[in-house]
């Protein structure tokens, strides 16, 4: 499965030298799935993905890995949040369940994609931290009060959009990774819009969405990351 993701990443590459027939064939094979690529049905492919992806981003590998790690943290946060919410009895009304099942599925796919991508370019994916979705007690009813849950959901999604936007230029030297990040970015924006609609809010804030820097994003999400007992004050 991992190899197929790497091949996909590789095939998103635009460097002239990267248009190997192997990867092109792999991409065509994937594309035959009709555009809906199910991880489970991918045909095993040559295990050349790692090297190809690695060479595609060689000049800025360190920055790329750091950027993907940051994205992975946000996706782990989101995915963990929805998995827990979908398990919470009576939280999500049946009328809205299809929405959150779709979002959860896609956040999980992002986690898988990024984990594999980080490995593929020579990094070691960081293990997900333990999350505290009450934000240190500020949102105690997050999994029992739908309004609170929606509020946090919107926060996470809107922050995710801004975070990817703020990181995009870090990936400008790798067409493959940049394109993948942009594609995830657009999905996060769709999520954000839908949740805003469920809350009765406008799906947008204006004609332009603004980026957030990594420190700004971390300030937003750090209350939801549980710290080891030894470092608590």
């Amino acid at each position: 499965m991992n190899t197929q993701i790497l091949d996909l990443i590789g095939n998103l590459g635009t460097d002239g030298a990267s248009a190997s027939t192997t990867r092109r064939a792999a991409f065509q094979q994937i594309a035959k799935g009709g555009g809906k690529i199910a991880l489970a049905v991918l045909t095993p492919l040559a295990a050349t993905g790692c090297a190809l992806v690695g060479s595609a981003i060689a000049p800025q590998t360190g920055l790329a890995i750091e950027t993907l790690q940051f994205a992975l943290l946000l996706e782990e946060l989101e995915h963990g949040f929805y998995v827990e919410a979908l398990k919470a009895p009576g939280l999500i009304p049946s009328s809205d369940r299809a929405v959150f099942e779709q979002i959860s599925k896609q956040e999980g796919a992002h986690v898988t994609f990024l984990t594999t991508g980080i490995t593929g370019i020579g990094g070691a994916p960081q293990a997900a931290p333990q999350f505290d979705f009450t934000g240190g007690g500020k949102y105690r009813d997050v999994f029992s009060n739908y309004r609170t849950f929606l509020q946090l959901s919107q926060t996470f999604e809107d922050t995710g959009v801004k975070a990817y936007k703020g990181q995009a230029t870090n990936l400008i030297t790798s067409s493959a990774l940049l394109t993948a990040a942009l594609r995830i970015h657009s999905v996060e924006a769709r999520h954000a819009a839908e949740i805003r609609r469920l809350r009765g809010e406008k799906p947008w804030t204006g004609a332009f969405d603004e980026p957030l820097s990594k420190p700004q994003v971390m300030a937003m999400v750090s209350p939801f990351i549980r710290r080891p007992a030894t470092s608590s004050t």
Binding site: K36, V99, K165, T169, R183, V187, A193, R197
Partner: protein
């Protein structure tokens, strides 16, 4: 940035020879049809070719931004028409959303035109004859197509840009287009998975990406002005 500035300067210099101005005022005066039958011999061959063969988006970042500008022109024109005479049975929320989307697209169009300066392509002629503006289904389905296509276009165009500032500018726009797309999809299929449906997001959770040639094929029925994208950077 330098590339864009250079292009803007060279384009401005080109315009200062008087031909561009003369052509524009002539077109304004005569209209393309009359021009075609009576005036072919009066203007230089190259300008004649430009006037009849459509627009060339250009190369480098300028070309990519013109590509985005073309799509924003299309969207802005579409929603301007939608909001000029809403479809029958529209409710207040849909009226509000479509009006705001129009404002966003007009803002995007202005932003890109301003960024491109003299390198901007001229106004495109649009063609919405296949849209039934009195039908909710026709309007929303067309809008969905434009928004999904716009998102796919920007997703594919990011890698063609060289200047980080241009990439960020495109990023500030594309997520708003994705929000539009999600909202329109929700209007057509409320509270379903359609807002980020499996038809537009793949099994890796990646939103659709489209090449310029694919995008221009989708929008071709709605744009009368021929668009030449041959000089765009290649992915």
């Amino acid at each position: 940035m330098d590339e864009l500035k250079t292009a803007i300067q060279s384009s401005a210099a080109h315009g200062s020879d008087g031909f561009a101005v003369r052509r524009r005022s002539f077109l304004k005066f005569a209209g393309a049809t009359i021009l075609a039958t009576t005036a072919a011999g009066l203007i230089p061959r190259q300008l004649w070719a430009q006037a009849t063969a459509g627009v060339n988006l250009g190369s480098g970042d300028v070309g990519v931004l013109n590509y985005a500008y073309a799509l924003e022109q299309l969207e802005a024109a579409f929603y301007t028409k939608v909001t000029a005479s809403f479809y029958s049975g529209i409710n207040s929320r849909e009226r509000q959303y479509l009006t705001e989307i129009r404002d966003h697209e007009v803002a995007h169009r202005s932003f890109l035109k301003g960024a491109l300066g003299a390198a901007a392509i001229p106004n495109l002629q649009v063609d919405f004859r296949t849209v039934n503006f009195s039908s909710r289904q026709s309007v929303l389905t067309t809008a969905k197509t434009f928004e999904d296509t716009g998102v796919g276009a920007y997703n594919g165009a990011g890698q063609l840009l060289r200047d980080p500032n241009h990439l960020l500018a495109a990023g500030r726009i594309v997520s708003v287009e994705a929000r539009h797309a999600a909202m329109l999809r929700d209007l057509l299929a409320p509270r379903s998975a359609a807002f980020a449906g499996d038809d537009i997001v793949d099994g890796f959770g990646l939103g659709a990406v489209m090449r310029p040639s694919e995008v221009l094929h989708v929008v071709a029925p709605y744009i009368r002005t021929p668009i030449n994208a041959d000089n765009l950077p290649k992915a």
